[in-house]
């Protein structure tokens, strides 16, 4: 049943992506409603999976890389609903669906995905808060990356006078720039809370702290230098993409490290 929930949600995101591509190609306007419905359905299936998995493992389902990736994609979708409705960036769904789809496919291809959940005693409030909040922060960084890609695409359209139907559907660059910066800030605040929770959790390995700092510091530097060095929106968008790629790599290393322990 648990696997059925996960496969269904993955198919929902694939359908959302496929429909958006079709809608853009066929010049059908307002694809956002379908995007929204499919994303919502996928989100519900994800919740179903996480609910069953947390029952099976007896704690927040973050015991291996497979669970971490599913939780991460759930965080991305959660933030998509918050950000999408706040900034009316309807096409964010078009860009979010393939990312979430990809993360979930990778998760299901992992060897850990085929291993039955192992019941573990809860590590306690602080360690679980640390892990969960940190992953939601990664979700915010992922969405900042998505908005950054949208900004770069739209900016290129404007510079090159290429006003195709894709240009019509993308939001204004000013709105995308605000979305990138706010998402990075939200992710940074959440990650800070996650790291603080990690300290409260105690017995945090030095390698974990070093890797967490490896994500926290670049984002902190970007946010500070945006003000001190007056970074352009274009540069911030590029940095959002690069920083998330690095963060994803760090997350992989971190999960393998925890798995090893």
């Amino acid at each position: 049943m648990e696997r059925a929930f996960l496969v269904s949600s993955t198919l929902c995101f694939l359908a959302g992506f496929a429909y958006s591509m079709y809608a853009l190609g066929a010049k059908v306007r307002h694809p956002s409603r379908w995007n929204f419905v499919v994303m919502l359905l996928g989100f519900a299936f994800q919740l179903g999976f996480l609910r069953l998995r947390s029952g099976a493992v007896g704690r927040c389902p973050l015991t291996n890389l497979f669970e971490v990736l599913v939780f991460l994609s759930w965080s991305v979708v959660l933030l998509y609903f918050v950000v999408g409705s706040t900034y009316r960036l309807s096409l964010l769904g078009t860009f979010t669906a393939p990312l979430v789809f990809l993360i979930q496919v990778v998760a299901q291809l992992l060897p850990a995905a085929s291993v039955a959940p192992v019941f573990k005693k809860s590590a306690g409030f602080w360690p679980e808060l640390h892990a969960a909040i940190s992953l939601v922060a990664y979700g915010a960084f992922a969405l900042a990356c998505v908005a950054g890609v949208m900004f770069l695409v739209q900016e290129r359209h404007l510079k090159r006078h290429n006003l195709n139907s894709f240009f019509q559907d993308l939001p204004p660059i000013a709105n995308l720039s605000v979305a990138v910066q706010r998402l990075m800030l939200a992710g940074f605040v959440l990650l800070t809370v996650g790291i603080v929770a990690g300290f409260f959790a105690g017995h945090t390995p030095a390698a974990t702290i070093a890797l967490a700092a490896g994500v926290w510091l670049p984002y902190g530097a970007i946010l500070v230098m945006r003000r001190t060095h007056r970074f352009s929106s274009r540069r911030i968008a590029w940095l959002a993409v690069v920083a998330f790629t690095l963060a994803l790599g760090t997350l992989g290393v971190l999960s393998l490290f925890h798995l090893g322990n």
Partner: protein, 353 residues
């Protein structure tokens, strides 16, 4: 029950003729009500815009209703509605025409959306005056649904089809809302004035006008409700500018990369939208290479307008297909005798007689 449409439009009549038959908004309900009480007419909606005057009626006998409507127009306007200026369309043809009108297909600018609001107003006036009943209520409601479907499922209303609207569309894709944007107009050309007006109508905060002949700058600034700036001082205002329109008659570029580059560093990541409407051009093409600057010249803007119009024209067949489906459905509904007439007493025009 039959539906009849008798009217003229920009396609059949010059403005001198159209204005002779035009009806003020305040009289639309009254005209509809009077026509609905005329012999042989059951229901009526009168639509009058700057590009068309059309009488839609529901009647048992379309030929007899045609004569009644003609007499009514002659009596009210003092001129007889004659062909080919006036065109009479009955049953499916009349229904199709209304669906095409509300979808913007019959408009002077293909796909414009203002007509839908105008027809809605006319229908509401007629309905309030008790001139509509079952047939026209159903017909107009269906027409509004058709318009919505055509607008949302095709690209018929998409894109900007004039230089001014292309500039507005681009500005909105750069800044989002324009209510915090300041516009600087260099020169006092007519296209620049229209573009500035278009930006102003979408909420642009302030307009500055600078021209070699300061008096012309003052005159244009007054017209736009903006402020005139001496030509040798416009660069001082640069920091506050978001949109720069070049429209001078200068034989060389007035705005160069060398001038803009250092000014851009002071802007704290605020983009600059440059619109060059002048020939020879006012703004050096390399300005577009500066980060945060988006330059469009007159050819680029006209290209956008033409591209949008071409997209709209390519959508015509899809729109017509959708409309045909609705025409067939409505005609079928109309052909069923008991549907044709017999609205609620309160809405029945006969009841008002």
């Amino acid at each position: 029950m039959e539906v009849l449409c008798l009217g003229l439009s920009h396609k059949t009549a010059h403005v001198e003729t159209r204005e002779r038959f035009a009806i003020g908004d305040a009289h639309l309900g009254e005209f509809s009500s009077l026509l609905a009480q005329a012999p042989g007419v059951r229901e009526a909606v009168v639509v009058s815009t700057c590009n068309r005057v059309e009488y839609y009626v529901a009647a048992e006998d379309a030929a007899a209703a045609h004569r009644t409507v003609s007499d009514f127009i002659t009596e009210k306007c003092g001129h007889a509605p004659v062909a080919p200026t006036f065109i009479g369309l009955k049953s499916a043809e009349g229904i199709r025409h209304l669906f095409r009108v509300v979808s913007g297909i019959e408009s002077m600018v293909l796909g414009e959306t203002e007509i839908l609001g105008q027809v809605k107003k006319a229908y509401l006036a007629a309905q309030t005056a008790g001139a509509t009943s079952r047939t026209l209520n159903k017909l107009f409601q269906r027409a509004f649904n058709v318009a919505k479907e055509v607008r949302t499922k095709t690209s018929i209303t998409r894109g900007a089809v004039s230089v001014g609207s292309a500039a507005v569309e681009l500005a909105e894709k750069i800044f989002g809302k324009l209510d915090a944007c300041n516009v600087m107009v260099l020169g006092a050309g007519e296209t620049a004035e229209m573009t500035a007006k278009a930006l102003q109508s979408r909420g642009a905060k302030a307009i500055f006008v600078s021209n070699r002949t300061h008096e012309r700058a003052v005159a244009l600034a007054e017209m736009l409700g903006g402020r005139a700036v001496h030509f040798d001082e416009w660069e001082r205002e640069f920091d506050a500018m978001d949109i720069l329109i070049g429209s001078t008659g200068a034989p060389h570029a007035v705005v160069t990369s060398a001038k803009i580059s250092p000014l851009m560093t002071r802007r704290q990541d605020r983009p600059l939208f440059c619109i060059d409407l002048a020939v020879p051009r006012d703004i050096e093409a390399t300005v577009n290479d500066i980060e945060g600057v988006y330059l469009y010249d007159i050819d680029a803007l006209q290209g956008i307008a033409e591209q949008s119009m071409s997209v709209r024209r390519n959508e015509l067949a899809r729109c017509e297909e959708m409309i045909e489906r609705h025409v067939a459905e409505f005609s079928q509904w109309l052909a069923v005798p008991h549907h044709g007439f017999g609205g609620t007493a309160g809405m029945h025009p006969e009841g008002a007689k």
